[in-house]
């Protein structure tokens, strides 16, 4: 087998191997290089896989040459390759951005540990995307979760410990629910391979254990993706984690849970079970709307910017789930596109905030007053990302909103159209609180001398900010992949 054929497994194994290497090196510079190289490799491999899948269809890989469904199968299709590119790309960007921020926020002696855990977390997230085996997905989910708990606890504030503990409890409950769901599926079908479960599903469709499995998986994954009202762990975790961790998590962690949900809903259980036998269409619709409005409204009243944008993330998750609840190709396209668009927008925001934290010593609204005076580039970047959150045309957020509104129109639900656009007005309010603080006030006397973040941070963050504009105008990659993946998920030929 050539190296290219090994890519599906290498994309997860290389970061996995980088973790112990970083641990054993015990040197922060070497550890950084190793993990950065691993992330870069993963990104390269993901892009190659994406091209391969786009060109010649899904790639299947039998671990240890045990043929599926007996062995573990790694399977990369349009959806998986799209998520691979997103997660590995964000990892590489965040890592290359985060050195200066890390120096300031985590004691130097712990850096190699940070890189180790980061590599593990990345392994977990990428593994989830490539794996075609239910239990293997659970294992990767736990790898990423456990490493995330530790990463959050590395925040210099002691409240990070509480946030991490809180997430640990909630996350473990979620993981337990997920494993119960997978167990029930195994019980009913006798297999763990996703495609195989799907093939055997018609025989047991609608039976109580299968529906129970669906319910457990729904709740467990909703917890992991911080779907309102199961989001309580998220604001604290994002606020108190080190900036690097917040940036990475905001861009990837919850999004991968959406990926798992999509897989289980549309491939394993099938729409008829999810949306007809259980009223999940209505449930998801209500939770999405509640999240869009409640979380965005809460965001308006936050004074800590990391917390403000964390609540905004909960609200944006509402859009993602809303698209799913339409159960149409357009709706699912909106979901998948928004996962990507929101990931780059929020990733950029948290990276910019990391720069602000470094220069101004914190990101509370009173402290960032006059930001535009001392850090003009960062402030401008925040404005652009804010516009993307609002969904102004020419930004990535607009593309997502376009598809959401279109999906609502196709479903003949005019009232939903107005709720979607109405909730973006809440985004206008919370974004403009930040803009007014940054542009309409003089900097605090002790912060007048603050300077723009170092170039090593500005460039990767700037790349992402440019990305939010680029992907708002050139959507061949995002919408193309998403629409393709959505029609595959729904079994609709394009």
């Amino acid at each position: 087998m050539t190296l290219v054929q090994q890519l599906p497994v290498l994309v997860a194994v290389v970061p996995l191997a980088a973790a112990p290497v970083a641990l054993l090196l015990r040197n922060r510079h070497l550890a950084f290089l190793v993990v950065l190289a691993a992330s870069g490799f993963a990104f390269g491999a993901s892009v190659l896989l994406w091209q391969q899948v786009a060109g010649s269809g899904p790639v299947s890989y039998a671990i240890g040459s045990w043929p599926p469904p007996w062995g573990i199968e790694y399977r990369v299709d349009r959806l998986a390759s799209f998520f691979l590119v997103l997660v590995s790309g964000m990892a590489a960007l965040v890592l290359s951005w985060g050195r200066a921020s890390l120096e300031a926020e985590i004691p130097a002696g712990q850096h190699y540990l940070f890189y180790t855990l980061f590599a593990l977390c990345l392994t977990g997230l990428l593994g989830i995307a490539v794996s075609g085996d239910a239990f293997n997905i659970f294992v990767f989910l736990e790898i990423s979760s456990l490493s995330t708990y530790v990463l959050i606890a590395m925040g210099r504030d002691r409240r990070a410990l509480a946030a991490s503990y809180n997430y640990l409890i909630m996350g473990t409950i979620g993981a337990t629910f997920i494993v119960i769901g997978i167990g029930l599926l195994y019980l009913m079908t006798g297999t763990l391979n996703l495609a195989d479960i799907a093939a055997r599903m018609p025989a047991v469709e609608g039976s109580r254990p299968v529906l129970a499995a669906l319910a457990f998986l729904t709740v467990g994954l909703s917890l992991k993706m911080a779907l309102f009202p199961l989001h309580q762990w998220l604001p604290n975790a994002y606020t108190h984690a080190p900036s690097v961790v917040s940036s990475f998590l905001a861009a990837t962690a919850t999004k991968v849970s959406v990926y798992v949900l999509l897989r289980f809903y549309f491939e394993v259980f099938g729409e008829s079970q999810v949306f007809d036998r259980l009223p999940l269409e209505q449930v998801m619709l209500c939770l999405a709307l509640a999240g869009m409005f409640a979380a965005s409204a809460v965001a308006i009243f936050q004074t800590d910017l990391k917390r403000l944008f964390a609540y905004s993330s909960v609200g944006q998750m509402g859009y993602i789930i809303l698209g799913l609840s339409f159960d149409s190709v357009t709706g699912l396209t909106a979901t998948i596109v928004h996962v990507f668009n929101h990931a780059i927008t929020k990733g950029a925001i948290f990276m910019l905030l990391g720069g602000v934290a470094l220069s101004m010593g914190g990101v509370t609204l009173p402290r960032v007053q006059g930001l535009a005076r001392v850090m003009p580039l960062t402030a401008f970047g925040l404005v652009v990302c804010g516009l993307s959150l609002i969904g102004v045309p020419g930004t990535a957020g607009f593309v997502s909103k376009w598809y959401l509104v279109k999906a609502a129109l196709e479903g003949g639900q005019w009232w939903l159209v107005f709720l979607v656009v109405g909730s973006s007005l809440l985004a206008v309010i919370y974004v403009w609180r930040v803009v007014e603080a940054a542009y309409f006030h003089a900097p605090r006397a002790d912060l007048v001398a603050a300077v723009e973040a170092p170039l090593s941070m500005l460039v990767p963050a700037g790349l992402l900010v440019a990305g939010t504009v680029y992907f708002g105008l050139e959507t061949t990659f995002t919408v193309g992949s998403a629409a393709e993946a959505a029609s595959v998920l729904l079994g609709v030929p394009r």
């Binding site: 909103k401 129109l409 159209v417 007005l425 959507t475 919408v479």
Partner: protein, 493 residues
Amino acid sequence: MIGVGQLVLAALLVPTCGAGLIALCHRTPDLRDAVTVATAGLLLWIVAALLPGVLAGDRPALALITVLPGLDLALEVESFGMLFALLASGLWLVTSLYSIGYLRANHELRQTRFHACFALALAATTGLAFAGNLFTLFLFYELLTLVTYPLVTHHGGDEARRAGRTYLGLLMGTSIMLLLPAVVFIAAVAGTTDFRPGGILAGRVDGVALAGLLALCVFGIGKAALMPVHRWLPAAMVAPAPVSALLHAVAVVKAGVFSVVKVLVFTFGIEPLAAAGGSDWLVYVAGFTIMAASLVALNADNLKRRLAYSTVSQLSYVIMSAALLAPLSLIAAVLHIAAHALGKITLFFAAGAIYTASHKTEVSQLDGIGRRMPWTMGAFAVGALSMIGLPPAAGFVSKWYMLSGAMSGPSISGTQWVAVAVIVGSTLLNAGYFLPIIFRAFFRLPVAGDVPAHGEAPWPMVIALTTTATGTILLFFMPGVPLALARQMLGGG
């Protein structure tokens, strides 16, 4: 030799790059101001170079990017957009001269940001004027809101911030809440958002749905300041006078009514709308706005506030005429965009000149000011005549067409009679709130113990306002080009 397509693109890029250059020259104010004037001149030259072709029937088009399937970022210069771009770029040149005088005389801060944002606003306006489809128009519309926000809040105080909230909240709120769903809906049913003669909705949407969709568009375009979404315009008067002059008499508000007329003619189509009676309601809403805003203006003592409400009412003349859908009223709508732009910019220039020379802002303070500032108040009188619609000012021409349009057709319907009544009644109101100012300025004696004697404002400002006043009169005698462009719009594009 540059192709016509590149020329269209250059009309967007020149002010954008100009803004960058202006920002780079922030250390040398003289150079920066020279760059501003040069950029404005270059833009006018480019736009003017497009005019002969368009008059001859060319429609230079340029597709930039396909954002989503069926959704292109595309430019196309047709006659109506040509007129608007010509108006905006021509008046920008005059305004840039005026702003330099105004900003320096009033020792304004952040002049670089001001000039740079102004250039960006013009880039957005040109893009909007040359938009080849509704999506492109929507994009530049939002962009225009965003780049003018720093201009409205230029002073940076609490009052400016509050006004900025109203400005942004109303303009962005309406466009996202109402216009965006309408655009998505139009794209979904028509499969395109292209502007085409005769519209793209014929046979696809009709009856009440058509009227509803029109309502989404018209109220979604908050810049047209139709009541009840007009509040941003008086709020925006906290901005420095040049901003009120160019943006809130020409670029921004005209972008609003331009978009309304454009959507009416090229997206909905005149014939389908007329057949469905889909725009009758709009005549009443616009008529109400004309009367109500005139009444508010009658009672406003602050000069800029009075002018702002006068603008609200004048904008609705355009909307009302367009909504009547008769060929003559559509010509009136187009002509009035030009006539009102010239007249109102003169009035705002004068208000700014009065403020600069004497720091007076209220109408009641203006006793005898015409003797100290004869040029300024002379220009003001010309502008006021144009607002009322008296010869020899441009407003007379558009009002003539407006009345002719309202009374055209085989039989005059009730809606048309309402329009006629509104035009006549509001003309009286216009006279009622403009003539007293002229009377005060020229025929009353200055109050004793008034502020120290002053003369005219700095010369660049006086030149600017006499230029636009002259333009107002010239347009009365030579309405040829706008008239030709307006006729072309009706003649199938």
